[in-house]
């Protein structure tokens, strides 16, 4: 399976910069990375691809629409509650 992340050292090799520079970019929030433990960071492959890409960053906008009631999110817990009530009654 293709690896989904780079280590900071791998990124420093790819970008031809020092590992310290990579970590500075991560801490500055410029290079997206995930912290997998207290001192270990991983850089997602697609994040680095976007970081080095010359494509312009997309401009996002929110399209609001009027509704009677907003759509619910997540699996309904009320259904679970009904099951529990049935068990209690039984």
């Amino acid at each position: 399976m293709t690896n989904r992340f780079y280590t900071p050292r791998e990124v420093s090799d790819i970008l031809q910069v020092s590992p310290t520079t990579v970590m500075e970019r991560i801490h500055a929030g410029v290079l997206p990375a995930v912290r997998v433990s207290e001192r270990i960071y991983r850089i997602p492959v697609p994040a680095l691809e976007r970081f080095v890409s010359t494509d312009p960053a997309p401009e996002f906008h929110v399209e609001y629409r009027r509704v009677d009631r907003v759509t619910t999110i997540g699996e309904p817990i009320a259904a679970v509650a009904a099951v529990v009530e049935d068990l209690v009654e039984a």
Binding site: M1, T2, R4, F5, P32, V34, R35, V36, R42, P44, V45, P46, A47, L48, E49, R50, F51, A57, P58, E59, F60, H61, V62, E63, Y64, R65, R66, V67, D68, R69, V70, T71, T72, I73, G74, E75, P76, I77, A78, V80, A81, V84
Partner: protein
């Protein structure tokens, strides 16, 4: 977390940008709803292609905000989901149906974890309330980055399937 309309709009667009900079493909237009009671809801869906699979992983960041004052809203519910179709697994951080959740689960915030997508061994795991959507994106991205076991077995199950 309370925001005015402009702050909320900036926050939503910031979430989309966060997902995008991490490599997720996110449509430029983010759909949002505003209802008669003043509630606002939005869902941002991003996909990340996998070079080894025809299917893409999907991240969904959904929130509902309730009105608290004139031109002020606070986050009332959230559902942050990663559907990792290439690896057939799911991780999610939820807070919704708070009253029912507290009554049934004992807590409002809960999590989902499926080592095999669609075959959870537990319906709801214990979870901590996340501060905002960016924290959700970070956690889900961390789950996506690391292939293999999500660690569901080590989590505290509140409601078994």
């Amino acid at each position: 977390m309370i925001r005015d309309a402009r702050g909320l709009d900036l926050y939503i667009r910031g979430l989309a940008k966060d997902m995008s900079t991490r490599g997720f493909d996110v449509p430029a237009a983010i759909p949002a709803e505003a209802d008669l009671a003043g509630y606002l809801a939005f869902t941002i869906v991003g996909h990340i292609p996998d070079p080894d699979a025809s299917l893409a992983a999907e991240m969904r960041i959904a929130e509902i905000w309730r009105p608290v004052l004139s031109d002020r809203w606070e986050r009332a519910e959230y559902a942050y989901d990663l559907i990792d179709r290439p690896l057939g697994r799911r991780r999610a951080y939820h807070l919704h149906d708070a009253d029912a959740a507290r009554a049934v689960l004992g807590v409002a915030a809960h999590e989902h974890c499926e080592e095999i997508l669609g075959a959870p061994t537990c319906d709801h795991y214990r979870g901590l309330e996340l501060g905002d959507g960016h924290q959700g994106i970070d956690l889900l991205d961390a789950a996506w980055v690391r292939p293999g076991n999500l660690g569901c077995a080590a989590m505290v199950c509140l409601q078994r399937s």
